[in-house]
Subunit: 247 residues, 2 copies
């Protein structure tokens, strides 16, 4: 069944991957602080995620929010992630609850757990023979302040689920690129997420029934240190791509 | 060995418990936005935790920071915990790293995991026969936005440890009261922290060697749903009080 979906940060890379495959699958309301340069489905709202009034208005008649907006730079300074990522995400969750939205899908990041990649574990953990695996139940170990902001977004999601009944899925997105990452970029191979697997995963987040989930968003790579079992079991994720398989 | 300790939020309840027993054990620099009404050891700086310049100046020649400052109200609104608790804590960690401080002890809270107290588990989990136990390795489940801010402080601590080498102890403080909590307040009995156990626990956080720790700060109560094993093992915590034992 087609859902009415608000997509924040629609003009970014993840939004582009989602819309490439799902444009005609749902009713879209797109939001971004930048105008869309290409054709797009549905309505388009130009607004910053910190503009609370506009965010609240954009929630009207929405079933599902996919919240991608924020400063996407791993090296972003604290003031920016505090405002755009932490405060912006709280605005989205609060407005979603008040508007009666059913689900919020939060774009978390591999950077929320980047510091598990210690000198002792790397590069072995990037290789297929290594069995080190994160599954989403581990505590955050952010490798940068951007990652701290993503971990905070997950905690906000947990709170808005537990106390306000919102269904929340947090997707720790890996290395999203249109083509295969270079074969000698071991880390990128291990956490690759193809565009079509990305769109499919977010489609499952729109359609599936769940309470609160933290899942890893990567393709079914031979090399992996993120488990995709939870995404498969709770969301019905069935990735088609694998960084080790080139056509 | 006496350490040079900066205590933020010194005039609050936790600060009062700490200073009651440790006033002459360390060299103190106290900071609070309110002036101290009683006698106090060491230096006293009146400043808000959001005053970055003064916070930075207060770090000079400090070995250990005990960071208690923040909005302590469980029902505090988002804007206040965002500014005072999340942004304020980042200011403290960043300034500590820049000043070459060795350890930061962060006052986290039971509210970071308050939503584990579900309708299904309570009140059984507050009773001695129940074996439900949180040990500090579980993901945050904040019961309020104050708890979200404390979980964010823990993630910041993890980041500043992993990436900047700071020793960080996060203490999820239970129910700190001078006297025993009422016998019929089951939750309060289970998470009681006596003033002298509080002071002793923070003394251990000042003196012990550790990397990054999340521990629960409660007395050795018969009723408990927070494990104190990690506090004992990593910090040498040896509580003397038990909510079930009245004199």
């Amino acid at each position: 069944m087609a859902q009415s979906v608000l997509l924040t940060g629609a003009a970014g890379r993840v939004g582009t991957a989602i819309l490439a495959d799902l444009a005609d699958k749902h009713e879209w309301r797109l939001m971004d602080r930048d105008p869309m340069t290409e054709d797009h489905p549905g309505e388009y709202v130009v607004a910053d995620i910190t503009d609370e009034e506009t965010v609240r208005e954009a929630m009207a008649d929405i079933d599902v929010v996919i919240h991608l907006a924020g400063d996407p730079r791993p090296e972003a300074p604290w003031d920016s992630v505090l405002t755009n990522n932490i405060d912006g995400t709280q605005t989205v969750f609060e407005a979603a609850v008040d508007a009666g939205v059913e689900k919020v899908v939060f774009a978390s990041s591999n950077h929320a757990v980047g510091a598990y990649e210690t000198d002792e574990r790397t590069p072995e953990m990037y290789r297929a023979h290594d069995d080190y695996l994160l599954d989403g139940t581990e505590l955050p170990r952010p490798g940068n302040l951007y990652g701290v902001s993503k971990a905070a977004g997950e905690s906000l999601g947990r709170y808005y689920h537990d106390e306000h009944g919102l269904s929340v899925a947090c997707v720790r997105i890996g290395n999203l690129t249109k083509g295969h990452p270079p074969i000698d970029y071991e880390r990128g191979q291990a956490m690759w997420l193809s565009y079509r697997d990305c769109a499919h995963l977010f489609d499952r987040c729109i359609r599936a029934d769940y309470e609160f989930e933290i899942v890893y968003g990567i393709s079914d790579n031979d090399r992996k240190y993120y488990s995709i079992d939870r995404a498969k079991a709770s969301l019905g994720y069935e990735p088609q791509d694998n960084s080790a398989q080139h056509d």
